[in-house]
Symmetry: none
Subunit: 246 residues, 2 copies
């Protein structure tokens, strides 16, 4: 085993044993260099692994903080791509009906989860199955103003907007929040979807984050209740008596 691997295991064990208080400060890189007689590079490599495991948090100027005793994830849902969020059987196409800037008012602020007065670029339209053209849902896509320049890059693109945003602005989606609620199908949307007005519908809101506390994109999808159900599966990935992580 290499030095930084040994160091990582040693520190991992000490954290698990409760040597350091959770939320408290971890020794600095120089202190660890002295204590273990290794270079700063070796220490940083070990700390990096512990940070990846979610045990530590590091901040320039502030230092290293202990986040947890051990990595705990008992049940996980894994998606190979964000396309997995849209658990449709086949490919879909977006049929744009509206495009333009909106200024958020009270109603929309609540549903989108953003602040009143903000300006967002909005696309709205139908999403259809590519195979037979059946309309699955009404979709509204909101892009935060700083990124509204993608509007020109859209054109004939068939990629999801978050993919275009990632490329053009070098964003890395760090988190996606998905919120599902039941609403009554609005009249205009019912017409576009050829669905029954005021019938129960599924409202799916997805907020895309890239590091910041505010999302850079928010999408709303309204599905007729009889055409779509959201399904997810969670797998257990650790045995009951498993610990002995090191």
């Amino acid at each position: 085993m290499t030095r930084y691997q040994e160091l990582r295991q040693t520190l991992n064990d000490e954290i698990a044993a409760g040597v350091f208080e959770i939320g408290g400060k971890f020794p600095t890189e120089f202190e660890l260099c002295e204590r273990f007689g290794v270079s700063r590079h070796t220490v940083r490599e070990a700390l990096r692994a512990l940070e990846d495991n979610g045990l530590l948090s590091r901040q320039a100027g502030s230092g290293t903080t202990v986040l947890a005793r051990k990595a705990t994830a008992l049940y996980t849902q894994t998606l190979d791509s964000l396309a997995g969020l849209f658990d449709y059987a086949t490919d879909t196409v977006f049929e744009k009906r509206h495009e333009g800037f909106v200024t958020i008012r009270e109603r929309l602020a609540e549903t989108l989860g953003c602040s009143i007065g903000e300006r967002w670029l909005r696309f709205a339209g139908l999403r259809r199955l590519a195979t037979n053209g059946i309309a699955i849902c009404w979709t509204e896509i909101f892009v935060a103003e700083p990124y509204s320049a993608i509007r020109s890059a859209l054109g004939d693109a068939t990629d999801p907007i978050y993919e275009l945003l990632q490329r053009q602005f070098d964003l890395e989606i760090s988190e996606v929040e998905q919120r599902i609620s039941a609403i009554s199908m609005p009249i205009e949307i019912a017409q576009a979807l050829e669905a029954e007005t005021h019938a129960p519908a599924l409202l799916v809101r997805r907020r895309y984050f890239a590091g910041s506390a505010n999302p850079f994109e928010v999408t709303l999808s309204i599905h007729p209740g009889d055409r779509y159900a959201h399904t997810q599966r969670l797998h257990r990935d650790r045995k009951r008596k498993a610990p002995s992580t090191g």
Copy 2:
């Protein structure tokens, strides 16, 4: 932006543009050092990021291989326990209204996802917030017949039924499937919940598996659309291969 970030983006773009053949060799670290006039450390940091994104594969002695044109990120939802499935803000209590065996007929077979003629033990009732007693949902719990002995063990237990089942029958829940759809609030349930009849409601079906292809427990929850929304968060995994703990 730092140098290795710029380098990462440049190489990322070149890979995406098809400059390198998939499965073919990528330039060596030294070649990249010369070409971009940076140190090996900077190159390695950029390559590391590309490897984490699943674009490259590196092998000591052999070199670097191109795996894909586009980054295929992994997004995971992690739960420390199954209690995380119920994303209520506070504790809840179950108020039992019905208890007994049912034989599955056509309608129920479809909603539960089981076969006609099967016998299940059924509990039905209200779930209330422990703090203020507000009814959140109508809940129906179905336990497969082989485990119906749990009925006697229930009594005053406040634990979730899947916990009791796990203990009494030494089951280990391996998978949970959650299905969310929008329905119209049925009359009887609307009355019990003091909600509006035929208003949009959220139907959450959870099926609990323990190795077998058939669930040992299925629960249905019907939430008034204006009282509850289901929320889940997905995090991007920084690395495709799980970081080892040592």
